[in-house]
Structures are given as structure tokens and as C-alpha cells.
């Protein structure tokens, strides 16, 4: 940097500071310059006003992109068609609104608080979602893996013993997760050859129905929940109310303004949709960011998106879209419902 002229040098130093590229000596130099020159300190502040606004724009654009993906991926056959189509349209509209939000003048963003609503307001909103998600209904979620980041092999920790022998996890992409209160779940994943691998729990025992036509059953109702996303950091994806409670204590919450539905029919049923973004606090486990799309009127969650989520050795961006709240058969969460009676059953 020494060959640069003074204005260029200060710009380089400030830019390096913005991107965390300065070493101790360069930081010291920048500090000296800031102490000596109020105009430079003003320039430094103006650069940060832009830098900070860019971060907020980036977060908002990222949320809008997620909405686009969700609309594109609506290939799931809805269990209750009409309401799902309506939600899909609503989500598509939400995407457009998210993009539009970026376009709304900063004045409006200024008023609505681009960096989020104050903590108390976001916390109150989360409380409303908690109440809505505590409703005793069966929920079916469609999972989609948007992105998988595989860590550098050299950085992977070698795990001794049994964990090292464990086969890689079956992909969650395209999986269906059916949940009921009391820890009941059925996770259906499809292998590349088209066969299915199911794990589940009926609240008393857990089980795995494997593609090799064997069934393993454990009296521990949580034994086969390790493949449920969130298991590794004790975030319960099976019980959304518990997940929200964890977000409340471990994440920063921001609420982004909602949108009004387009058609009159939708207006009467589901008027507004809202986006809540949770950013993980330091030194707590879990996904780096969680985005929650929900009905602003009822607090019902339509979609959850987990960004930078640990899953085995990988980090995923995972989307969970609600496809049905229809009641499932009483025996649905028992393994008997998912395999022929002659299949071999092994007790764990």
C-alpha cells in the first residue's frame, strides 16, 4: 500500500477495514489517520452507512431469492389441493413483494426499520407463532436441499470408533416429514435408486424401515431421530413449537413487513404474509440463519428455511414447506403401516 497516493491509501485502508483485510500495522495506521482528520472520519462513517445498508439489502435479497426458489419448487402434490395452491400463489406473491420491498424507497424502509423491528416487537411476534404452532394438528412438510457445502477433507475431524463407520446420511432432498404432537414423526427419504428409507416414532418406540426389507425397532422413542434435521444441535424439527422456543432464546429475530394478497378470494382467506428472519447468536449451535414465512393474520407457518445448517459433516441450506395439515390415520406413525408384515423385525 505504500506506493499509493494519500487519498488512494486511505480509501484502500477503509475498504480493507470494511472487508476485514487489514493487519495490525495497517489498522494502527488507519486509527492514526482517523484521529488526525475529522473529514476522514466523516468519510469513514459515510462508507459504513453504505456498507451497513448493503448488508441489509443482501439479507433481504437472499430472503427474496428463497421465496423464488420455493415458488419454483412447488412440484409437491398437495394433499389438500385448493388451500396449497392458494398458499403457493401467496408465496409467489410474497417473493414479488420481497423484491418490491428492495425497491421501495429507503425512506419507507427507514420508517419500517430495514434492520428489523425492535427486539420487543419481534419477540411478541414470535410468541404469536408459538401459540399458533402449538395447535394439535398433523403436519406434513416437504423438504428440499437448496445447497450442500462439503467441508475441505483436510479440515474434517477424524472420528474414532463407531461414528466413523457410520454410512453417510441419506439425502434429505425431496424427503417428506410428517409430524404430530408428542414427538410422533415419519421421515421418508428416497434413495437414488428410487427405493425408500423411512424412520419414525410413534411416541413410544422409534423405528427404521430400510430398503433392504429389514425393520429395526427401538424402545427409545428418540433413537431413530438422529437423521431428522436439527437433531445434532437439539433443535426439534418434529415439534415446531419447541424449535421456535429455541429460536427465541438463541437467535436474533427480525420481522419484515408483509404483503397483501392479490385476489379478492385470497384476501378473504389469507390476507397477508410475513417473513421473520432469525440470526444465530454467537457461540450457540444450530443453523446460521432461519427464515420463517407465515400468515400474518393467523401466525400459521408456511415455510421454514435453514441456512448454513450442520447435517453430518456437511452444511446445508434446507427448505421445509408445509404441504398439508390433514389428519393422518391413527396407526400412521407405527412402523406396521409402512412395510409388509413378513419383513424381518430386529429389536435394537
Amino acid at each position: 500500500m505504500s506506493s499509493e497516493s494519500e487519498p488512494q491509501l486511505t480509501d484502500l485502508l477503509i475498504s480493507g477495514y470494511l472487508d476485514d483485510q487489514l493487519d495490525a500495522q495497517q489498522l494502527q495506521h488507519l486509527q492514526q489517520l482517523l484521529l488526525q482528520s475529522p473529514p476522514l472520519t466523516d468519510h469513514f462513517a459515510r462508507q459504513h452507512l453504505l456498507h451497513d445498508r448493503l448488508r441489509n439489502m443482501g439479507m433481504l435479497a437472499s430472503a427474496a431469492t428463497a421465496g423464488t426458489l420455493s415458488a419454483r419448487s412447488a412440484s409437491v402434490v398437495p394433499v389438500s389441493g385448493r388451500s396449497f395452491v392458494s398458499r403457493r400463489q401467496l408465496r409467489r406473491f410474497l417473493t414479488a413483494v420481497c423484491v418490491l420491498l428492495i425497491g421501495v424507497s429507503a425512506g419507507l424502509l427507514f420508517w419500517s426499520g430495514l434492520a428489523g423491528t425492535p427486539a420487543a416487537a419481534a419477540s411478541a411476534e414470535l410468541q404469536r407463532l408459538l401459540q399458533a404452532s402449538a395447535r394439535q394438528v398433523d403436519r406434513t412438510w416437504q423438504l428440499a436441499v437448496e445447497e450442500t457445502v462439503v467441508p475441505d477433507l483436510r479440515r474434517r475431524r477424524t472420528v474414532p470408533g463407531r461414528a466413523a463407520q457410520r454410512p453417510p446420511k441419506v439425502s434429505l432432498d425431496g424427503a417428506l416429514l410428517c409430524v404430530r404432537s408428542g414427538g410422533h414423526f415419519v421421515l421418508t427419504r428416497t434413495l437414488p435408486d428410487g427405493t425408500q428409507f423411512l424412520t419414525g416414532s410413534d411416541g413410544v418406540c422409534s423405528w427404521a424401515v430400510r430398503p433392504d426389507q429389514s425393520v429395526r425397532v427401538s424402545r427409545n422413542p428418540a433413537h431413530f431421530s438422529r437423521d431428522i434435521p436439527g437433531h445434532e444441535h437439539s433443535m426439534s424439527f418434529v415439534q415446531i413449537d419447541q424449535l421456535l422456543a429455541q429460536l427465541k432464546s438463541n437467535y436474533h429475530m427480525q420481522v419484515f413487513p408483509g404483503a397483501t394478497a392479490t385476489s379478492a378470494a385470497e384476501e378473504s382467506a389469507e390476507q397477508t404474509d410475513q417473513l421473520m428472519i432469525a440470526v444465530r447468536r454467537r457461540k450457540v449451535p444450530g443453523p446460521g440463519r432461519v427464515e420463517i414465512s407465515y400468515d400474518a393474520l393467523t401466525g400459521d407457518i408456511h415455510q421454514l428455511r435453514f441456512i448454513d445448517m450442520p447435517y453430518g459433516p456437511d452444511r446445508l441450506t434446507l427448505r421445509m414447506t408445509l404441504v398439508s395439515e390433514d389428519s393422518l390415520e391413527p396407526a400412521f406413525f407405527s412402523h406396521d403401516s409402512h412395510h409388509p408384515p413378513e419383513w424381518r423385525i430386529e429389536q435394537e
Partner: protein
């Protein structure tokens, strides 16, 4: 909620982007910014009865943020490269000076200016500001030298700043 608290909340909503940028300028990390901003928001609401409405709100809110930043700096790991605590007040004063309505109005054109970025620039913007990656990590993804990434980011910000000024000048005074 009484009228005074309501006024403070309204003022906080207006001041929050500037306070957020001020916090970023010292703590640097965006996740830490969110931590400190949230703590500042709570502190602003809790101390709202002590706010004298004859004083400019932004200066008061920046003062509250300074306290939270100092607390952050004291509990922060010593090996992180941060500005000295002594500079915090100086930088806060600068934020107060530069946060004129005129300058903040310029930032209203940011969306249009971002729309004008070329594909490569947009990719860099998304990696840096949507995914919060640093030049080293960006370089690995883009197969670029981190220094080249840094310079490209600087160019993008320069272009955006010029674009904001140009658009604000075209629109004329508010």
C-alpha cells in the same frame, strides 16, 4: 405505553439504520452487529424515560450505542483486530455529522444502483453481503486471489457511491 415511550420508539425506528451502521463500524462482524444492535434497542427502550426530548434523538441513541459497544469491546477476545475504545466517541460524532437528510436520501437509490451491477459484480455482492463471506472465502469459491476480490469489492462500492450521487443529483433537492 405512554406518549413519551411511543415517541421514543418512533424516533428509534428512524435512527436505527444510522445506529446500526455506527455499530458495524466498530464491531465489524455482522453477527456481532446484530447482537449489539439488539442490546442497544433494549437499552433505548429501557432508558426511554430518561430521554430529554429537547435533545436530538440520534445523538442520544448513539450515546446509548456507545455504552453497549464499550461493553462489547471489553468482553471481546483480545486477539481480534478492532479500533481502540478511544475512537468510539470520535466516530459516533462523525455519524451524527454525516447523517444529514440529504445524505440518507442518496441511499434511497441503492436498489436502482444495485440493479445496474453486472453479473460478476452481483455475484460478488451476494457472496459478501447476502452470505456474509470475507474475501478469502469468496476467493476460494470464485477461484480468485483474496486481494483481487478485495479490490473488486472496493470498485463495486465506489461505483455504487458514484451512482447514488448521480441519481440524487438528477432528482434534485428533496
Amino acid at each position: 405505553m405512554n406518549e413519551h415511550t411511543r415517541t421514543v420508539m418512533r424516533q428509534w425506528t428512524l435512527a436505527q439504520p444510522v445506529v446500526s451502521a455506527f455499530i458495524t463500524s466498530i464491531v465489524r462482524d455482522f453477527t456481532d452487529r446484530d447482537d449489539v444492535l439488539q442490546e442497544t434497542a433494549v437499552a433505548v427502550l429501557e432508558s426511554s424515560p430518561r430521554y430529554d426530548s429537547d435533545r436530538p434523538f440520534l445523538a442520544w441513541a448513539l450515546g446509548v450505542a456507545q455504552n453497549q459497544i464499550r461493553l462489547y469491546l471489553r468482553r471481546c477476545s483480545r486477539d481480534r483486530l478492532l479500533l481502540d475504545e478511544g475512537l468510539v466517541e470520535l466516530v459516533a460524532a462523525s455519524f451524527e455529522r454525516v447523517s444529514s437528510a440529504e445524505h440518507l436520501r442518496q441511499l434511497e437509490y441503492l436498489r436502482e444502483c444495485l440493479a445496474g451491477l453486472e453479473d460478476r459484480e452481483r455475484q460478488l455482492f451476494e457472496l459478501r453481503y447476502a452470505q456474509d463471506l470475507k474475501p478469502a472465502a469468496m476467493g476460494r469459491i470464485l477461484e480468485m486471489n483474496p486481494n483481487t476480490v478485495s479490490k473488486a469489492l472496493q470498485r463495486i462500492r465506489d461505483h455504487l457511491r458514484e451512482c447514488l450521487q448521480r441519481r440524487a443529483a438528477m432528482e434534485g433537492p428533496a
